[in-house]
Structure formats: structure tokens, C-alpha cells
């Protein structure tokens, strides 16, 4: 177990290093980053002073090393629009994003379980069995922002059931969470359905049926057996979820970390963009680590396979 944890910690460190290097590389690709970090309309003198204050006039290698220290300390240039620590602004928006992502994940799990059970456990073929999978295919082929716009149009504008944007009350959460869930559900539902069908064709199912076990009980055993592959996909979905928040939050003006990047870009508040993206990327790698560790904890086979290799 210790070796398993150490190995994954090592891989995560490599990934964080790679990701931060990419951030550094892109940041410096245009020459002097101070040109972007300065307020709009700053003259050359101001840019030079800012460049010096932020250390952009030092040798690149030196900046590269200190960049990691800065990121780890959360030391980013101040946000131009908020006039305060950029990381502070980002962290203030975090609860809204977590609420949205959590709700979406919950909806996705319920929807995937329902679709998978329906399509995975039915005999025969055709539309009666496969219609949830067609919905899944559709959800996968429609851009997330368009699903959002359609939901706003139908439920917000036509029916006037729910607010079209903002974050006031539980009603405001429903549409963005539903939209985000549309992006997360399809892989989950597909994997759950396929592994459920796999489990139902295995000998233990036949034995159960032959022994006169009820249909519900057979299904429960099969569903239990399908949990593991489905959970793996759930872990991989963290990326889709996080990436989805950037766009979906913008569609609904949901005041989260994702919408913050886009508004900061529109306001040309590049220090804030930098802090936000660096935070999101690092957070994502760390979430992946936690998922991997949990997965190893749940399934000893994963642990041992990785220790052998």
C-alpha cells in the first residue's frame, strides 16, 4: 500500500511539474508577460516597472525555478479588476463551482444508473430496450452550451418555470447542473450498461436464475459486479466535469471559478486568468490523485497490479 501511494504521488508530482511548465512556457511565449499583466493603456515606463516588480526581467531559468515557489505559495500578481490577491478572488468563487459540479455529478449518477439498468437488463433488442442509449448518444453529440441555451429557452423563457441565470435559490442551480450532467452521463451510462450486460451473461447469473432467485436479486448482484468499471469512468469524468464548468457557468452566469476565467479574459485581467487557470489545472491533477488512491483502496487488484509493474 505504501509503495502504491508513493508511486502515485510521484506520478502526480511529474504531472504537476509538466502542467506548471506548460503554463510557464505559454506565459513567456509572447516575450515579456508584463505587457499582458499591465493594465490596459499602460505606457512603456509602467510596463518596465511592473516587469521589474514581478521579476520578469530576470534570466528565464531563474524565473522558471521561482515560478514553482510562487505557485506553491499562491503568490500571483494582483487582479487588475478586483485590486486584490488573484488567488483570493479565485478561492472566493470555489464554493459555487463545487456546488454546481457536485449537483451535476449526483444527477449524472442517477441518470446513468437508470439508463444503464433499463438498457442493460432488458431481454431482446430494438427501440424498447435501447432508447435510453439513443438519448445518451444525443447528449454526447449536442454541444454543452447549446443544451444550456435550449434549456433556458424552454424552461426559462417559454414555460417561465426557472430563472435563466444567476445563483439565487435552488431553482437557479437546476438548469446549469442538468446541462453539466448531460456531458458527464453518457460515458457512465454506456460503461454501466455494457458491464451489466456482461455480468448478466456470466455463469453465476444463470446459477442464480436456476436456483429460483428473484429478478431483482439477480440484478442486484450483477449491478454490484458492474460497479468497479463504472467507478473508474466516474474518476476519469472529473476532467469533463471541470472542463464543462468553464462553459456551462458562462452560459448561466453562474458565479464560479470557470465563469471567472472568461470574464477576466473579457476584462483583459490577465493576472486573474493566470491564477485561475493555474489553480484549475493543479486542482484537477490533485483530484485525479485522490481518485486513483481511492480506487486502489477500494480494489486490492489495482494496488497489486501497479506494485508488480
Amino acid at each position: 500500500m505504501v509503495r502504491f501511494v508513493l508511486r502515485h504521488l510521484g506520478l502526480t508530482l511529474v504531472a504537476v511539474w509538466g502542467a506548471l511548465s506548460a503554463v510557464f512556457l505559454v506565459l513567456h511565449s509572447s516575450g515579456n508577460p508584463a505587457v499582458m499583466m499591465a493594465p490596459v493603456g499602460a505606457d512603456e515606463d509602467q510596463i518596465a516597472r511592473l516587469s521589474h516588480a514581478l521579476g520578469y526581467d530576470r534570466p528565464l531559468a531563474e524565473q522558471y525555478v521561482s515560478f514553482f515557489g510562487d505557485v506553491l505559495r499562491g503568490d500571483f500578481p494582483d487582479s487588475l479588476t478586483f485590486q486584490q490577491s488573484a488567488l483570493h478572488v479565485v478561492l472566493e468563487r470555489l464554493p459555487a463551482t463545487l456546488t454546481l459540479a457536485g449537483t451535476a455529478l449526483l444527477i449524472a449518477c442517477v441518470a446513468a444508473a437508470a439508463a444503464g439498468l433499463w438498457s442493460g437488463s432488458r431481454e431482446g433488442g430494438g427501440a424498447r430496450r435501447e432508447w435510453p442509449m439513443w438519448l445518451v448518444f444525443l447528449a454526447q453529440s449536442v454541444p454543452g452550451f447549446y443544451i444550456g441555451v435550449l434549456l433556458v429557452w424552454i424552461f426559462g423563457v417559454q414555460l417561465r418555470w426557472l430563472p435563466t441565470s444567476g445563483s439565487e435559490g435552488a431553482g437557479a442551480l437546476l438548469l446549469p447542473a442538468l446541462t453539466l450532467a448531460c456531458g458527464v452521463t453518457p460515458p457512465l451510462a454506456r460503461v454501466f450498461r455494457n458491464s451489466l450486460r456482461g455480468e448478466l451473461s456470466r455463469p453465476y447469473t444463470r446459477t442464480g436464475i436456476a436456483l429460483g432467485m428473484s429478478r431483482a436479486r439477480v440484478l442486484r448482484h450483477a449491478a454490484h459486479g458492474s460497479m468497479l468499471p463504472t467507478l473508474t469512468i466516474l474518476g476519469l469524468e472529473a476532467g469533463a466535469l471541470l472542463g464543462g464548468t468553464v462553459i456551462i457557468e458562462s452560459v448561466f452566469s453562474w458565479p464560479g471559478v470557470g465563469q471567472l476565467v472568461i470574464t477576466a479574459l473579457q476584462n483583459e485581467d490577465y493576472p486573474l486568468v493566470l491564477a485561475d487557470l493555474t489553480f484549475l489545472i493543479t486542482a484537477f491533477v490533485l483530484v485525479n490523485l485522490i481518485v486513483d488512491l481511492l480506487y486502489g483502496l477500494l480494489d486490492p487488484r489495482v494496488r497489486h497490479a501497479s506494485e508488480r509493474s
Binding site: 511565449s29 509572447s30 448518444f137 452550451f145 441555451v149 429557452w153 423563457v157
Partner: protein
């Protein structure tokens, strides 16, 4: 087991036909469009479909929506196809090299794809578009950049299997140079695989272009671009739903047809090789 062959064949054919139709209409847009997609008619803004002689109405600046719809697939298709080409060629070449040469090159490239696949592509795209400049070329590169690892992984694992086959061994023992073996013996073996992957990758690329254009980071106003048009029309939903809803339908048709075709091609080849199913939506 059911035998879904007849219906799947239809789905694939329908996908190919719709995709072909969209490409054809886009190419012929200058001839087909009744108006200039950028021409404003400020006397008739937000005209409903059919009003004032505008078949699908006009947008908030009085531009003919039908003409804009016909032109609106150009950027997604152009950016999508170019990105798929760049990412596909790059990923295939590196996958070929890594699978054939193995050793440190393989190790290095494989770790690189691991790191990249560990990052959500939309964040990577935002990073590059924020600090690396915004232009169509950058857009193509960024979408290609987030797509190449898929080709790399598939081609690499296929080449690893192929290089132990007898005809490759035979070429090598006869002293044929390695690059020639790679191009003449191994490349044909991965061609079909790459073609299928590219079809599914096209829908991913189109989705990404649309998403970034929606956010204002892709196509720029006043250009007619389906993703951008949805974003521009969103504010008009209350009074004029058609401005946002119709361009989105175009996007859906484009992505569904590419996915149907890709899945059909993939299901014909599945079993022999591991292929991705429908492109996972990242935006």
C-alpha cells in the same frame, strides 16, 4: 445477441450523407445564400422567420439568418478538418516512431501523452488562447494539440504489435532502411485505424471550435459561425428564439453525422483493435 447490422448500416450511411450535404452546402454557400451574410438591414432587425421576405428571419442587426446559417459551417469545418489533419499527422508520425524505435523515445513520448491526457483539453486551450494570442492558426493548433495523443496511443500500440510480424522482420533482415519499413510496411497497417479515429476526432474538433467560439475565443464577430451565432442570439431568446436556436441545430446535425459515421466505421473494425467510441465531449 441481436444482430444490429441492417440498422447500423443505415445510421452510418445517413451520417455520411448528412456530413456530405453540410460540406456541399458550405462550399456552395456564396451561390445559395439569398443575401450577404454580413449585410445589415437595420430597418428589419429581429424579423421572425418569413417576415419581410427573410425565409428564416433576421438577427439583432438585421442580417439574413438563412445566409448566415449557410455560411456558418465554414469556420467549424475548416478549423475542424485542419486540426484533425495536423493532430492526425503529428500523432501518427510520433506513434509510428515510438512504436517502431521503442527505447527512450517511446518512454519520453508516452510520458508526455500521459501528462497531457491528465489535463482537461479546454483548460489547455484556454491557456494557449489567453497568453499565446488568438487567430485561426492558433485555434487550429490548439485543437490539434489536444487531439494528437489519441492517434499517438492507438498507432503506437498497433505498431508494437505489427513490428513483430514476419513481413516486417523480413524487410529488416534484408537490410531495408528503418524509415522505409516504417513508411512502406507499417503505415499501411495503421491507415484504416487512423481514418476511423480521424472521423471521430472531427466531431471532437468541431465541438471544441464551437465551444471556444461561443466563449468568444474562436471565430470573431461579425463572422458567421454557428457557435458564435448561438452566443450572439442567447441575449435575444426572449424576443427572437430563432437567432440562437437555428445555428445550434446545424452544429448538432454536423456533430451527430460525424459521430454516426465514425461509430459505424469503428464498429466494423472493433474487435481487432481497441478503438474509441463516440468522441467524448470536452466542452
Amino acid at each position: 445477441m441481436r444482430n444490429p447490422k441492417p440498422r447500423r448500416l443505415n445510421a452510418g450511411t445517413v451520417g455520411a450523407a448528412v456530413l456530405g450535404l453540410i460540406v456541399l452546402v458550405t462550399l456552395l454557400a456564396p451561390v445559395l445564400a439569398p443575401h450577404d451574410p454580413l449585410a445589415q438591414d437595420l430597418a428589419h432587425t429581429n424579423a421572425a422567420p418569413g417576415e419581410h421576405g427573410y425565409l428564416l428571419g433576421t438577427d439583432q442587426l438585421g442580417r439574413d439568418l438563412l445566409s448566415r446559417l449557410l455560411h456558418g459551417a465554414r469556420t467549424p469545418l475548416l478549423v475542424g478538418v485542419l486540426a484533425v489533419l495536423c493532430g492526425g499527422v503529428f500523432g501518427t508520425a510520433l506513434g509510428l516512431a515510438a512504436g517502431f524505435a521503442r527505447g527512450w523515445l517511446d518512454q519520453l513520448l508516452s510520458r508526455l501523452t500521459d501528462i497531457q491526457l491528465a489535463l482537461p483539453s479546454i483548460l489547455l486551450a484556454l491557456l494557449v488562447l489567453s497568453f499565446g494570442g488568438r487567430s485561426t492558426a492558433v485555434l487550429v493548433l490548439v485543437i490539434a494539440l489536444t487531439g494528437w495523443p489519441t492517434y499517438f496511443r492507438l498507432v503506437r500500440s498497433r505498431v508494437l504489435a505489427l513490428r513483430t510480424s514476419e513481413y516486417v522482420e523480413a524487410s529488416l533482415t534484408q537490410g531495408v532502411p528503418a524509415w522505409r519499413v516504417a513508411v512502406r510496411d507499417l503505415l499501411p497497417g495503421v491507415r484504416g485505424l487512423v481514418a476511423v479515429t480521424a472521423t471521430l476526432d472531427l466531431s471532437r474538433a468541431v465541438l471544441m471550435e464551437a465551444g471556444l467560439s461561443y466563449l468568444g475565443l474562436g471565430a470573431q464577430a461579425p463572422e458567421a459561425d454557428w457557435g458564435l451565432m448561438v452566443s450572439e442570439g442567447q441575449g435575444q431568446l426572449l424576443s427572437s428564439w430563432w437567432i440562437a436556436v437555428l445555428p445550434g441545430l446545424g452544429l448538432v446535425a454536423l456533430v451527430i453525422s460525424a459521430n454516426l459515421l465514425g461509430e459505424r466505421l469503428a464498429s466494423r473494425r472493433r474487435g481487432a483493435t481497441h478503438l474509441p467510441t463516440t468522441a467524448t465531449r470536452t466542452v
